[in-house]
């Protein structure tokens, strides 16, 4: 069974600070996806990383896929209250066309 572990589970910081959240597995994934979920809504895809060592930037968000394709990180620079939400990483199961999700990191940015 492919599992994704996210850390930390909860993070509360002040506006303007930087932060990094992690997604780790003992299994190799062909790709990993990051989603953000706001209260009362479904997860919304932020990015997909597919190549080991890949770095993708989305404004103040930087996503990295580990060289061995077993882990990923999300770094937010100068966090804003609008970044508040549940961040989920997800990866495809081997040989199947469905996603398995980590337990999420609940991020709160305080004004």
């Amino acid at each position: 069974t492919q599992l994704l572990e996210q850390s930390p589970q909860f993070l509360s910081i002040q506006e303007g600070e930087n932060l990094t959240v992690y997604c780790n597995s003992s299994s190799v994934f062909s790709s990993l996806q990051w989603y953000r979920q706001e209260p009362g809504e479904g997860p919304v895809l932020l990015v997909t990383v597919v190549t080991g060592g890949e770095v993708k930037k989305l404004k103040r968000l930087t996503f990295q896929f580990g060289d061995a394709r077993k882990d990923s990180s999300l770094h937010i620079t100068a966090a804003q209250p609008g970044d508040t939400g549940l961040y989920l990483c997800a990866g495809p199961t081997q040989g199947a066309q469905k996603l398995v999700f980590g337990q999420g990191t609940r991020l709160t940015i305080n004004p």
Binding site: Q6, G42, L45, K98, F101
Partner: protein
């Protein structure tokens, strides 16, 4: 492009009652998924459909949960009888190309009292 539609948005029932959720995927998306998201956890797959056939229902508690996808479009998920531990958000997602291009609905929040 219209998104994935789910209804109802909220439902409160007593334990041992039955409940049904409805999902209308994005037009042209052959694959439909139902996920259960318990508070504080990530979504867990319950069942995957490809057109109107079941691809994976290994995590579906079949003694109480059932799902169908008539004509390969809309889908319903039913719980009968409900237990307290079924309290969760039930998310429907659809995809045109497997794991690339998942789109989620807003979910149905179920509270079992």
């Amino acid at each position: 492009e219209a998104g994935v539609a789910q209804s109802p948005r909220y439902k409160i029932i007593e334990k041992r009652q039955s409940v049904a959720f409805w999902c209308n995927p994005i037009s042209g998306h052959a694959t439909l998924y139902w996920y259960q998201q318990i508070l504080g956890q990530g979504p867990k797959l319950l069942i995957q459909f490809q057109n109107n056939g079941v691809v994976d229902d290994s995590q579906l508690p079949k003694d109480r949960f059932s799902a169908e996808r008539l004509k390969g479009v809309d889908s319903t998920l039913k719980i009968q009888p409900a237990k307290l531990e079924d309290s969760a958000v039930y998310l429907c997602a659809s995809s045109r190309a497997g794991v690339y291009g998942y789109t989620f609905g807003s979910g149905t929040r179920l509270t079992v009292v």
